[in-house]
Symmetry: C2
Subunit: 156 residues, 2 copies
Amino acid sequence: MTVTGIMVDSAGTIVPRPGGLPEEPTQASRFGKARTAQSGALLEDYVELISDLLGSAGEARPTDIARRLGVSHATAIKTIGRLKREGLALAKPYRGVFLTETGETLASRVRARHRVVVDLLLAVGVPREAAEQDAEGIEHHVSDTTLAAFDRFLRR
Amino acid sequence: MTVTGIMVDSAGTIVPRPGGLPEEPTQASRFGKARTAQSGALLEDYVELISDLLGSAGEARPTDIARRLGVSHATAIKTIGRLKREGLALAKPYRGVFLTETGETLASRVRARHRVVVDLLLAVGVPREAAEQDAEGIEHHVSDTTLAAFDRFLRR
DNA sequence: GACAGAGTGTAGCCTAGGCTACACTTTCAC
DNA sequence: GTGAAAGTGTAGCCTAGGCTACACTCTGTC
Ligand SMILES: [Mn+2]
Ligand SMILES: [Mn+2]
Ligand SMILES: [Mn+2]
Ligand SMILES: [Mn+2]
């Protein structure tokens, strides 16, 4: 049995089958994009957190970052190294972590998206704590298109 | 400056600060749970796909799984090995992949959740293709509580 | 029944992201 | 100013999840 991914509707038009398997290249591309989104998730959480710490405490130290994220300080320091390599952060030994322009810009977008995702979840009836929890993972998979839709929904 | 994560509202009651940083252990726990959810994501996608292939084509071969996921067949075979180790799949050399009872049960739940997530996105105004794309990542971070809320929202 | 092509499996390599252990630097109290 | 505590950095280990290359098995055609 072959899966074609299309069907003919009641008016005789050929449309994608909503219930069945998507076309193979389409599905592969979706999975691939989801993997890509995931690989950016950790960096997004780091810049958002660093920006928050800089704003509220005036500094972002590796140990504080590590405690907030629930990882060891060694793990945090290694990831901060990656942030530096990718041009998102600046840090000199024993002097705390700062964000580049690029890093701050990313942090702002990530923070705004985080807020919208939480608000959307609350708006459709998700309890507060579940919304806060699930948003932490969901946010990294919300595209600009979807974010815009969430925004429109919240404003009406 | 210290971040306490609480505030006093207009009635004099102490409440969590909605805008600021969450309490440290709370935030660490959220990040930790998001990491846990993520680590299950790949297995969920595999069992859902294998179940779909078994249903529509009658068999699930490593190459087909690989093509659908957009990875090499070697990667797929390695992951199928992990599914076996975790008691979700059964496979004998050159004889295709099957799901255990546990695997089928997981597949059903994952498929149902996938559908609800897509429907929720559509219901709040996300365009079809963005909904299908983003759901592929979002689904793995939707808790039972949130899923139930989505369900209620869709039924009203 | 041979053999070509498709499918399968294994080996070996890589990076990301966890960890612990240990050594070094800084800071703060006295 | 010194010494202890806190913080920082490095080394080395692990697993998951990618990849390519290569060898083996199966299947369908002639
Ligand atoms: Mn997050
Ligand atoms: Mn976030
Ligand atoms: Mn998925
Ligand atoms: Mn799915």
